[in-house]
Symmetry: C2
Subunit: 202 residues, 2 copies
């Protein structure tokens, strides 16, 4: 709430549209979602959408950015922690999973629908994604340099970890019987065990 009634009204309406779009983009995909469906879910006529949003593409771009922001801002809080690399990896995976679950729709837009972007938005999307992956690569490389992690290909290790994390988008259901904390803990443990030194001789 800003205290300004007129602004609040506009923000809420616009937000309703964006949330409806994010939900549909996540569950059906960008291309399979029509502006009519978004309008219906938001409780508006189709033409009214365009009072709040310039185009379907722009809407996706905004949602992708928002999803990315959720992940990066959550991760930055972890990045600065003064902890052993192993624990920072654990925190990073935990944070990713919990952030996704909390902001499912927009993060799913970022993870799943980014390729539907065009032009400048597409470039910005790839840049953001690379920066996000790069942060994980530094984390893993740091752990290897410090001897906390076994030596292994950094890119592949990050692909493995992020694949495990991103895939949550595809199977998580709020009523699926797994509390977010449980998923976050198990996945963090899985990632850490995959990288830490020990059990040599395989």
């Amino acid at each position: 709430m800003t205290g300004n009634a007129a602004v609040d009204a506009e923000v809420t309406s616009r937000e309703r549209v964006l949330r409806a779009a994010a939900y549909l983009f996540r569950t059906k995909g960008f291309d399979a979602t029509s502006m009519r469906e978004i309008a219906q879910l938001a409780g508006l006529g189709k033409s009214s959408l365009y009072h709040h949003v310039p185009s379907k593409q722009q809407m996706l771009g905004e949602l992708v950015d928002h999803g990315m922001d959720q992940l990066t801002s959550a991760l930055q809080r972890v990045a600065t922690a003064d902890l052993p690399t192993t624990e920072r990896l654990r925190l990073a995976v935990r944070t990713h999973v919990l952030t996704y679950i909390e902001h499912r729709d927009s993060v799913a837009c970022f993870i799943q629908e980014g390729r539907a972007l065009t032009g400048d938005q597409r470039g910005a999307f790839f840049a953001h994604r690379d920066r996000y992956e790069g942060w994980f690569r530094e984390l893993v490389a740091d752990g290897i340099a410090k001897g906390e992690f076994r030596p292994t290909d950094v890119k592949l290790a990050v692909f493995a970890i992020l694949g495990m994390c991103h895939w949550v988008v595809r199977w998580y259901r709020p009523d699926g019987g797994f509390p977010p904390e449980k998923i976050a803990d198990d996945f963090a443990e899985f990632a850490v065990r995959g990288l830490v030194t020990g059990q040599e001789g395989g």
Copy 2:
């Protein structure tokens, strides 16, 4: 010549159509791919597609089935191996990765585009997918029962492993600098390390 090796091969028209469709479905997604594009890539007029395939939906269904068959038939060769569970897991992950890379387009249809199916095909898809996941769950549960794997939630462990594997669809490029064998080995090692007993006290 189209310049696309997957389509240029000397095969029947029907196969050319299916391969073109699989390639486009993987790279652009089912909904973003038009029958006109498929026809063009296959070197045919749009109407000619319908001499080989009854509909776009049916085509996707066939490709999803085919991708699923590639994975399951490859996995069944591994399932019967008389090896410790740890080594069977390693083989399973290796096989999954290598099979995906060898049959990228149709397997990607199975992994990524299955949700675009409708009706009976949709039900069959979910059944196949569940059977595939079920096989992995039995493998993991078996390893835990035998004491080779640490006790952990089986479903989550399989989600983690399959997430890591399925995500290959999204980043693998033939010229990406990673030989398939390297990816398969690293991912198998990652999965095994995530599950085997040892390093307790975390």
